[in-house]
Structure formats: C-alpha cells, structure tokens
Amino acid sequence: MPDQDRDSGERRARPAARQSGAPEARDADAKPSTGPGSPGGAPGAPSPGPRSPGEAAESGAGGSAAGSGGGDPSRSVETHLTFYRQMLQIRRFEEEAARAYAQGKIGGFLHLYIGQEPIAVAANAVLRPDDYAIETYRDHGLALARGMSARAAMAELFGKVTGCSKGLGGSMHFFDVEHGMLGGYGIVGGHIPVAAGTAFASKYRGDGRVTMVFFGEGAVSIGDFHEGMSLAALWKLPIVFVCENNEYSMGTPLSRTMSVEDVSMKALGYGMARDRFFVEDVFQVRDHLAEAVERARTLSEPTLVEIRTYRFRGHSMSDPGKYRTPAELEERKKKDVLLRSRSDIAAAGFEKQLEAIEAEIEAEITDAIRFADESPEPGPELLEQTTYAGPFAR
C-alpha cells in the first residue's frame, strides 16, 4: 500500500513541456500505477480512500522536511523559519480574532483558516509580489501570507475604516491590491471566472504575471468552476487552480458532495495539467505549487492542483461541528504542520530563533488588536464613492 499511497498521494504533474499535449497523448502510455511524473497514471492510480495525512506522511518525504539543511538550500532552516513565522502569524491572528468575535467585537461570518496555513504560506512563497491571488470567504490566511498587515486585517474584522477594505467588506472580503491580494469572495465558485480574468489580462498584456485562485472541494460541483476551467484550458491562461480539499463542505463530507473523490480527475476532461497530494509539510506544498506556477509562467498553461488538507475549526464561528468526531479531529491535529515545523526546526537546534519569532508575533497581534480597537469607523460619506467610481447613478 505505501507505494500506491505515494503514487496517488504524491502524484506529480509531468514537467510542463511534456504536459502540454492533448490528453490522449498524455495518457497514451498510461499504466496501472505509474510513479510520480506520469499524469497518465492519474486515472490509473487507485484512489486513496479518505485517510489521515499520517499515512501519507509515512509515505512522504518526511525526513527532508526538517529543513535542517543537508544539501538543499531551498529547504534551509532560514526559509523554514520564515514559513514558520508566517504560519504562526496566521494561527495567532485567527485565535485572537475568534476571541474578539466571542466578545462581540467582530460581527457577521468568521471563517477560520486554522489548520490550512501551510497552503497560503507556500503559495505566497512561489508567487511574485505582483502576481494575483484570489480567495473565497476563508481569506485571512492568504491575505496575511501575501503581506497584508495584521493591523489592516484585524481592523477590517472590527469594521474600522483603517481596515483593508475600509470596514465595508468584513471577514469575507479582504482586499489588498498593493500586495496582489485581489479579494475574498462570498459566492461559492463565483470568483473562479474572475480569477481566470486576471490571468487573461496578464496574457493580454504579456506582463508575465500568474494568477492563483483558491477554492474548497465544495466549489467543484458548481457551474462557475466548470466555466472557469473550460475557458482557462481553451485559452491557455496563466493560472493555477488550487482546490483546498479539507474534506468538508460546511457539514457535508466530500463523499456526499462528489461522485469521484479525486478532484484532480476533473482536469482530464479539459486536457489540463493536474496535481494532487496530501499535505505533509510546508516545503512539500511549496514544491508542488512551484511546478504549477512555472507551467503558468513559462508556458501560459493552467494547472488544477488538489491539496488534501483539514480545517481544525468549524466551518464558521456558528458551526459546532457535530458532523465529525472529536477523535477524528484529534487525530488530524496531531498532524498540524505548524507544530511539525516547530519541532523540526527545534530539533535542528534553533529553539532560540523560534522563541524570538513567537515573541514578535505576540507583540504584532496584540498591537493589531489595539490598533483595530482604537481605529475610527467608516462614515456614510464612503458609501457613494464605493458604489460607483464615477458620479452616482440613481
């Protein structure tokens, strides 16, 4: 089994150049369970039933994740510390946001990213500052990873004018154009064609930018996913479709939302390159996404990347999460990538740097809360100018 797990859990899209042919060509040499590097094996590889990342990890590049160096500079401890810092910032930001929500300082919906941090952090690591990133309503993690200040983020949650969207958007609508964060969107799937559009603009202008769009596995059945994929494949747009498959669409496990558990199989019908893996560590995520970004940047070809992950909190603050057992949750928390990174880095003898980072983050989040608390609220005068760019039309 481990071998097969590795095949399916670690399936890699073929290098872009070879990937780009018609799907038939790609699959011409399909074999029962080909190893990484042959997407042809994709349909052939047995689908992993739902499994804990643990198994995947066992079969994964475990050791190399320590970042305690060895030869590979791209996995240096310095890099790992940077990733740890960003993941911790997101974790602590959201833990405090949850507290503030309980205190009534934040209203509406609050969807936490806790547990999925390595994805946003790894994604940012392979994107250029001027690339475009577009998210769902579960958008705090990506916004912070892209470089939005904790102050602007927390102030937005508090509905303050100093927030990233002037307090008009709230948790679901984090925008920071300057940092290539083109927003969080509330309609499932609705942002996918929009993301294909920013990629379209990059191709139109030849500006070399790549767009990365994120969505949950619950979005895969809706029409806009299909239309966005169809057009991106037909027009060869420089975009990476990242499906963060956290196994639940609100209270519904993926077995009840999809007839095929392997989301990446959808790419076959579009002749699109695809990748699929279970999250083990932040470097692994980065390396997979780097390949897809490279394909978009150099060949202007889209990729569908399915990342199996898990959210540790409810769908939103109002969700008690009765649909999953405490046991399942605990099992998954053992695989928390944030903790794994910490122990790997500590094991490599960098405890001091870790503690320094943790102290900084605490200060940063405390400051963000204070800033949000003390910031003024937006006034009615903002409403007209944010409804129309030009004169108001009534």
């Binding site: 709230g170 309609i187 499932v188 809706i222 609100m250 519904t252």
Partner: protein, 327 residues
C-alpha cells in the same frame, strides 16, 4: 393553538405536508445531516429519511433544475436555498424554466414547486449576502412570491404554497426565525394567497409592508401613537399576487401611504405598490406615496453603516411626517 417560533412553524408546514403527500420532498444544502443551516429542517432527515430529505452539493442551478423537472412529472419539490442570495446562480432556471414551462408546453405541464429560504438583511454578512431578492422575482409572470411576517402565516402560507400548482417563491427571514407566535394546530390551517392583512388599524396614514419590516412598521406606529398619530399597518403577506383591494380601501380611509420594505428603491415591489396606489386611488391621495427602503447602496459590513443603510423605524416615521406635511 400552540406557541411556535417562526422557524418551527415553517418546519411544521413542511412536516405536515410531507406526512400528507408522498410526492413532497425537501432538497437543499445542509438540510439533512446538518439539520439545516438555520435549523429549519431539524429532525426531518430522521423522520423522512434520505430519500425525501436530500443534502445537495453546492449546485443551486442544478438542484433547482432537477426540482423543476421532478415537478413537471408529478412530484412536489421543496427547494431550500441556504439564503435567497444564492438563488442568483439559479436565476435562469427560475426565469426560463420554472416560469415558462407551462406556457411553452401550451399548458400541458405545470410546475408545482416551492423555493424557500431566508431573505434580505441578516447581521453584518456583507453585500453579497444581504439581498432582498423578491424585487427581482415578483417582476416575473408565472411565479408567485410570498413573504410572511408571523409564525402563523409562515405555516399557513407555506402549506398553501406546497399545495399550489404553480411555482411559489417563499421569502423567510433569518432575523424572524426566533420570533414566537400562536399558530393553529390544524393540519388544514391554510392561509390564502393574495390576501393582505390589516395588522393595526389607524386613521391618519397607511403603512404598507411585509416580512420583517411589518414589525419595524408596528414599532414606528407605536412611537407615533404617542403623538396621537394613528397609523394603519398592512401586512401584504403575498407580493405576487398583490392585494389591491385591501390597500386601496385603507388609503381611501387614511388618504396617505408609506411603503416600507428591505432592498433597494429602484423598481421592485415598493415602486409597484406606489404605482398601483397612485393609479387606483389617485383622487384619494392627499400626499404622494413615499417609500422607506434600504438606501441605494450595496450592504456594508460595518455595523453602524449597515443599520444606517437598512430601513429603520426612524426612516418610516420621517416619511410619515412628510406625507402628513409635518416635515
């Protein structure tokens, strides 16, 4: 009579009709195992099983279309959208199939389907999740649009809707789900469509409203009563068909009207009511028909701004003073 919450009244209507008619089923996101995003369908999966209470993936257009097809061949589907906002991705199914199949088939087919969900503003859920969708749907012939304000009407109108042979769009409200009210126990408690209700009598001005805004209108009426201004408050209950008689009768008495609803001012139900009143009661009106609506902006997240944009009792009172020329 039993005291039920609005949420429970909606559930009771569905449960009674599903007990009564095998052809009725409920489909929507999280309606089953999760017991409903707003717990409206709590317990129904256990009671009726997965065949009649179906959890759907996020495919509003898909399961709306499926329900239209099922209705065309004899079933009586109830579709729950998590909120009416999400019906926007099913807009074509509602406009071009639900409302058209009967005429396209020369009357061979009918589409007995109920589409229901909470509608309009919730609390700080932002611009994409705060739409008052009745203003789009009431425009369309072939559809019926209902918007109850009380538990008793919620039950009685939903039962009527489920037994109705035409597509009925049923507008609930997240902010009303917890209100309590006396509800007839009878399984034959059926409230007819097209009959508005005078929920408060008054001689000075008529406030015409529906759904959550009926309660806000009553609040405004009570405040003005302290000044001796007596408002008559009409709960439309049914937006299409619209009860012209009750509105005209009231305005013939008060000679003044203010329409209060959520959603934007341009077009929509409020404009239609104003149009009908000036047309049907032109000589009775001593002042223009005014409207207290959401301001003409997308709904902002900030709590104070949201309250500023949503119609409040204060806005209704302001409009009433205007039609009384007290402004």
């Amino acid at each position: 009579m039993s005291e039920l919450r609005y949420r429970e009244a909606v559930r009771a209507a569905m449960v009674e009709e599903m007990e009564r008619d095998e052809r009725v089923f409920l489909v929507g996101e999280e309606v089953g195992h999760y017991q409903g995003a707003y717990k409206v369908s709590e317990g129904m999966l256990e009671r009726f099983g997965p065949k009649r209470v179906l959890d759907a993936p996020i495919t509003e257009s898909g399961f709306t279309g499926i329900s239209i097809g099922a209705a065309m061949v004899g079933l009586r589907p109830i579709v729950e959208y998590m909120t009416w906002n999400f019906s926007a991705v099913a807009f074509d199914q509602i406009l071009n199939n639900a409302a058209k199949v009967r005429q396209m088939s020369g009357g061979q087919l009918k589409v007995p389907i109920v589409l229901r969900a909470p509608n309009a503003s919730a609390r700080q859920v932002g611009s994409q999740h705060s739409h008052a969708m009745e203003h789009f749907y009431a425009h369309i012939p072939g559809l019926k649009v209902i918007a109850p304000s009380t538990p008793a009407d919620a039950k009685g109108l939903l039962k009527t809707a489920i037994r109705d042979d035409d597509p009925v769009l049923f507008m609930e409200s997240e902010t009303l789900y917890n209100i309590k009210g006396e509800v007839p126990d009878s399984t034959e408690h059926l409230v007819p469509f097209g009959k508005a209700q005078v929920v408060r009598e008054g001689r000075d001005v008529t406030i015409i409203s529906y759904s959550r805004m009926v309660h806000v209108s009553l609040d405004a009426a009570n405040q003005l009563a302290k000044e001796g201004i007596e408002c008559e408050v009409i709960d439309l209950r049914s937006l299409r068909p619209l009860d012209e008689a009750t509105m005209v009768q009231s305005v013939t008495k008060t000679h003044r009207a203010v329409v209060a609803h959520e959603g934007w001012p341009y077009g929509g139900v409020g404009a239609e009511v104003a149009d009908r009143l000036q047309r049907l009661a032109f000589d009775e009106l001593d002042a223009p028909v005014l409207r207290a609506t959401q301001l003409d902006f997308p709904m902002p997240y900030n709590a104070k701004l949201e309250q500023y944009v949503i119609p409040q009792a204060s806005r209704i009172i302001e409009k009433i003073r205007e039609v009384l020329y007290q402004a």
